[in-house]
Symmetry: C2
Subunit: 308 residues, 2 copies
């Protein structure tokens, strides 16, 4: 199947959406089209929005869309939803709230399911961002749900990271923040009208003071009412105005990590093909039987598979 | 370096700990020792404990250790800590609480840092479980912090999964539970004395009634006081008593996923060596420069690296 690369590059949303769907479904020709448009990207300001479940990320993104549209800029959102590896269904949660922008041609929202795959962020997200970038969106948000690996990955795929927290999420969440603080360019205490918000802001101020690197902007928002959102937009504009050399240095560091992630995914794909499935065993299916029977260890099995 | 495989197999904790440290540090000879002990494992009952941050997993594991020790069985814990990819430090949180078992020779606790690597659970965790299994621990807990991928991975590395929730963690957390429900063999509402616990139990009962598969045991605990912990132990014993054929079928399904994960990690390692670092560029370092300059797309770059 041939994709209309020229229409994607001209900013045609239908063509861009068709290509993203085809990439998700791994249709023939989709990847060739992605490679063709890739060199035309690199102009978008890509912003990661991350934080623990329940802090109000989607509500904040929704408010940011409104603010950016008011400035007249187009904006795209790639929202990563954790899915069950069994049902394959996405857990949209309050993502639906953003749908009020559905009739605005200047807003494009793409939900991606991670499908329980390792490095789920790198594969589909990088591809979707590359398409939206090539299609000319000047601002692209990448919203990730959940704590852990995805939050770290998002720093590898974006020009700036907004870390969102909220008061009253427990001590362990506080501890997790230490890792997030290190990737944050903007740090937000959302639900800033709730009990504990002052305390959270004070705690974060103290933690930031201890950090070795330049402190991120620390802001209070009430995303549901729009309070503080203008300040977030201003902080993002300041980051967007950083020298190109600085942005490029970050992108160079990211390139290696991205390529490594893809190399790992490709190897898994090849090994999966060699193993096959229960109903359609591949040429090396017997290796898995040996591992299950403990006559072969999984590390030797992986070595054997990578020689395919 | 040669490791005393016989001492590990005889249950010597120092030898087991030395091997696990060596595996973590990728010392020469460590992996050969792991391959040698692997066929001697497979006897342990391996239980994953997972759930969102702040639900009290560590407190629950601590209470379970006490209950299992009271029955006279030895127990090991592999606790996975999310770490910053920058500082490399583990975020122990209330993990330290478990240290009251530190003087008990029948308890072995190993904290593993994920180091921000993709599929972090599969590499170090599988190795640590294989060592503890070969060393004769009849019960091994694998505790994972955080939502998302790690929670799915844990079902691939264990014989049974305990999913822990707590009241009052917000709607998004509720949504996330749908994915977790599918991997749960035992489902616990911890902090069961708090406001909202009855509601959480009722909600979960309703969600489970809608599920296609056999419902997990649903239990209420107050891990900090020990309330309900005996019932959790009883539920685990029931799972442990499942027919061997059932357990083996699960392990066969897991073998394929584990081998695929290792194959992916190996490919990343090889690609990383080919790229090298900024200070010590590898033979294919130029590929990353091309990706950063957008004269090469990252997918073609990964293909080039996998031909090394």
């Amino acid at each position: 199947m041939a994709f209309d690369v020229d229409r994607v590059l001209a900013g045609d949303l239908r063509a861009a959406a068709a290509l993203m769907r085809a990439l998700d479904d791994e249709l023939p020709g989709a990847h060739e089209a992605l490679r063709e448009i890739y060199p035309h990207g690199g102009r978008a300001f890509v912003v990661g929005i991350t934080g623990s479940p329940g802090v109000g990320k989607s509500t904040l993104v929704d408010a940011l869309i409104t603010a950016i549209r008011a400035r007249g800029e187009r904006v795209a959102v790639v929202a990563i939803d954790p899915t069950s590896p069994f049902s394959g269904g996405a857990l949209l949660g309050d993502r639906v709230r953003m749908q009020r922008h559905a009739t605005d041609d200047g807003v494009f929202i793409r939900s991606l399911a991670t499908r329980g795959q390792q490095g789920g962020l790198s594969r589909s997200t990088s591809a979707a961002v590359a398409v939206l970038d090539a299609a000319g969106f000047p601002v692209i948000f990448v919203e990730t749900v959940g704590a852990g690996q995805a939050e770290v990955d998002v720093a590898d795929a974006t020009d700036a990271v907004v870390v969102v927290t909220a008061p009253g999420l427990g001590d362990e969440v506080q501890a997790l923040k230490a890792g997030l603080l290190e990737i944050a360019d903007v740090l937000i205490v959302n639900k800033g009208d709730r009990e504990g918000a002052d305390r959270a802001l004070a705690d974060l101020t103290n933690m930031l003071a201890l950090g070795a690197r330049a402190a991120p902007a620390l802001l209070r928002t009430v995303a549901s009412s729009g309070e503080g959102v203008a300040e977030v937009v201003a902080a993002l504009q300041a980051l967007r105005g950083r020298p190109i050399a600085e942005r490029d240095a970050r992108r160079r560091r990211q390139a290696a990590r991205q390529v490594l992630a893809i190399a790992g995914e490709r190897a898994r794909d090849r090994a999966r093909a060699a193993i096959g499935s229960e109903n359609a065993p591949g040429p090396l299916a017997a290796i898995i039987q040996d591992v299950a029977a403990r006559t072969l260890d999984p590390w030797s099995a992986a070595d054997a598979l990578s020689k395919v």
